[in-house]
């Protein structure tokens, strides 16, 4: 039986992605003013957050900025138990952790982000959630640490 060999290679790759006007404006408002901005399609009127340059449905350019709240409604959720390497740190992300799609008030699309809950029985589609912000913002969606469930009192105060 031939001894079978394996040849190993480790590569460290790094990239520098050019960003665009809509990213720059979104990040500026997020970092400097703690405001979230979406872009509205002139044809279907859908508000996209995160912002896009073009509406995928209508193929129309998006230019109208719209204020979006940092709280909204949970539209999907899961608790992740499988560790994967967090690309931002290069380390395994500790599990379990909650993920959700949150439709922020004022937006028509949902934002994929973390939700601070590890018990799936405590999460429900339709529940309200709000962002928990970092003390110091650097200009990335990670300036929101995660979302957290709003209790009824908090929800009422939002109205």
């Amino acid at each position: 039986m031939t001894e079978l060999l394996r040849v190993s290679h480790t590569m460290t790759l790094s990239w520098r992605y050019g960003t665009s006007w809509y990213f720059a404006e979104f990040i500026r408002a997020l970092r400097d003013e703690r405001r979230l901005l979406g872009l509205r399609c002139p044809v279907c009127r859908r508000v996209y957050l995160p912002p896009r340059p073009v509406c995928g449905n209508c193929y129309a350019e998006l230019r109208e900025w719209v204020e979006v709240k940092d709280s909204g409604t949970v539209r999907a959720f899961t608790i992740v138990h499988t560790p994967i390497i967090d690309p931002t740190s290069g380390q395994l992300r500790p599990t379990p952790y909650g993920m959700a799609l949150i439709q922020l008030d004022g937006s028509d699309t949902t934002l994929n982000h973390y939700i601070a809950e590890n018990d799936p029985n405590k999460l429900r589609i339709g529940m309200r959630a709000r962002a928990v912000w970092r003390e110091e913002r650097r200009g990335t969606l990670s300036d929101i640490i995660h979302f957290t469930a709003m209790n009824n009192e908090q929800s009422d105060n939002e109205q």
Binding site: T2, E3, L4, L5, R6, V7, S8, H9, T10, M11, T12, L13, S14, W15, R16, Y17, G18, T19, F23, A24, I27, R31, I85, P87, T88, G90, R138, G139, T140
Partner: protein
């Protein structure tokens, strides 16, 4: 992290490629015997080095294993300075295609200990002290003493 209109990102990736039976046998011969083997295609009769399980031109399994000389002739050469990112000037002076005696294909490898390598130079393999079953069990090829 956003910095003047750019988003930077990085990742570490590790890969672990199977050599397969033919390449394993070739690499083990480098490691254990300091010998270089080729395989012959029964259709075109060429001896392919490194040894491989099929001939890519004829698309048939290779048959006979043929030992080739650890010496041959340079058929192409490119001086590289520095040779690899981070590697300073030293023994290895460039990359070459080497037609080993008995082989019908050329092997891509390093040239070392040479002042002015050029096409036609006769070279011989220098094996690494510590070998693991890897193409760099041959450290480089150096000019043959005449």
């Amino acid at each position: 992290m956003n910095n003047n209109g750019f988003v930077t990102a990085g990742v570490n990736l590790s890969f672990n490629y199977a050599a397969g039976e033919a390449a394993s046998r070739f690499l083990i011969a480098l490691r254990d015997e300091k010998k270089i083997w080729g395989t012959r295609c029964p259709a075109c009769q060429r001896v392919l080095v490194p040894a491989r399980s099929f001939c890519p031109r004829c698309f048939v399994d290779t048959g006979e294993w043929v030992e080739v000389e650890p010496a041959g002739t340079v058929s192409a050469f490119a001086p590289l300075s520095p040779l690899l990112p981070g590697e300073g000037p030293g023994v290895r002076v460039g990359l070459a295609l080497i037609h080993l005696d008995g082989a019908d294909t050329a092997l891509a490898h390093f040239i070392g200990e040479a002042d002015a390598p050029q096409i036609g130079l006769r070279v011989v393999a220098v094996f690494a002290e510590s070998r693991s079953g890897h193409i760099l069990d041959i450290a480089y090829f150096k000019p043959t003493e005449t």
